[in-house]
């Protein structure tokens, strides 16, 4: 079981790294799906089956598919891959990576220096989660609902095909159509 956990963790991390480094966005998305699935495995192993299911259904299933649809809509070709390659080869890599690495080390140090204990190992059944969700966190659920509603309306509104309007700041002479 422990081995399985480590393997899943390794896959999740490697897949994440692959996501970040890909040039073809479809590849990146597929790696992202892998990463999410591996995470779901981890969830399952530490006793959160409900969340594992959610991870697969919503994250990997819905959100990532949304991405894929958008990419398809935008109809990207080889040009895009070329451009990504060009952009990735710059030296922009080093400083952010270094920064993040130091931060990671520091946080790791903080984590390691704290108290440690093995996992409880108790399975938390979905029912328990549901009860808790609809009692203690009822307001959170309501807020989440409102957020989603706002997201839906916002997304619809934003993505609607509109007449071409240039913002007045971006307008140049002769650009009116």
């Amino acid at each position: 079981m422990t081995i399985l956990f480590y393997i899943a963790a390794l896959i999740a991390i490697v897949a994440s790294i692959m996501v970040v480094t890909r040039t073809n966005i479809i590849h990146a998305l597929l790696y992202m799906v892998i990463s999410l699935l591996a995470t779901a495995v981890m969830f399952f192993l530490i006793g959160a089956p409900f969340i594992a299911a959610m991870e697969i259904i919503i994250y990997a299933g819905a959100i990532m598919v949304l991405f894929v649809f958008v990419v398809m809509m935008l109809n990207l070709g080889k040009q895009a891959v070329e451009q990504e390659k060009r952009w990735l080869s710059t030296e922009g890599w080093y400083f952010p990576s270094l920064l993040s690495l130091i931060l990671l080390l520091e946080i790791g140090y903080l984590i390691v220096s704290g108290q440690t204990a093995p996992f409880n190992g108790r399975q938390i059944p979905p029912a328990e989660v549901g009860k808790e969700l609809y009692s203690t966190y009822l307001i959170g659920v309501e807020l989440a609902a409102i957020l989603l509603m706002a997201g839906i309306i916002g997304a619809y509104h934003l993505a609607r095909r509109k007449k071409y309007v240039v913002h007045r700041f971006l307008k140049t002479e002769g650009a009116e159509q």
Binding site: M1, T2, A12, I13, S16, V19, V20, L29, M32, F43, L45, I46, A48, I51, M54, I58, I63, L66, F67, V70, M73, L74, G77, Q79, A80, Q83, E84, W87, G92, W93, P96, S97, L99, S100, L101, L103, I111, T116, A117, P118, F119, N120, G121, I124, E128, V129, E132, L133, Y137, G140, A144, L147, L148, G151, I152, G154, A155, L158, A159, V165
Partner: protein, 99 residues
């Protein structure tokens, strides 16, 4: 029974988080940045679930659910914006970068 301590889980979560962070910082394509943010959110959720598992309580999972909600809303709006950008500024370049 699984013999992993909370620390290990948190370290895994932070590695993933920082991977996402590096992605946000180094990628110039907004789509990739959005995906990287998804990685970060996922890592944060992971840490919550680990912490909840440590105490054997449901709260961590509930937090993950909220994060999930946020991520979904964010992606919906973000992608809508991308589409709109793409339509409005018909650039020759294939993707709208934010440089």
């Amino acid at each position: 029974m699984i013999a992993i301590s909370l620390n290990t889980g948190l370290i895994i979560a932070s590695i993933m988080f920082f991977t996402g962070l590096i992605g946000v910082m180094i990628r110039k394509n907004i789509m990739f940045m959005l995906i990287s943010i998804e990685i970060m959110l996922n890592a944060a959720g992971l840490a919550f679930v680990f912490a909840g598992a440590q105490h054997g309580q449901a709260d961590g999972q509930i937090m993950f659910l909220f994060i999930l909600t946020t991520a979904a809303a964010e992606v919906a709006v973000g992608l809508a914006l991308i589409i709109q950008f793409y339509q409005n500024l018909k650039r020759s370049i294939p993707m709208l970068p934010i440089i």
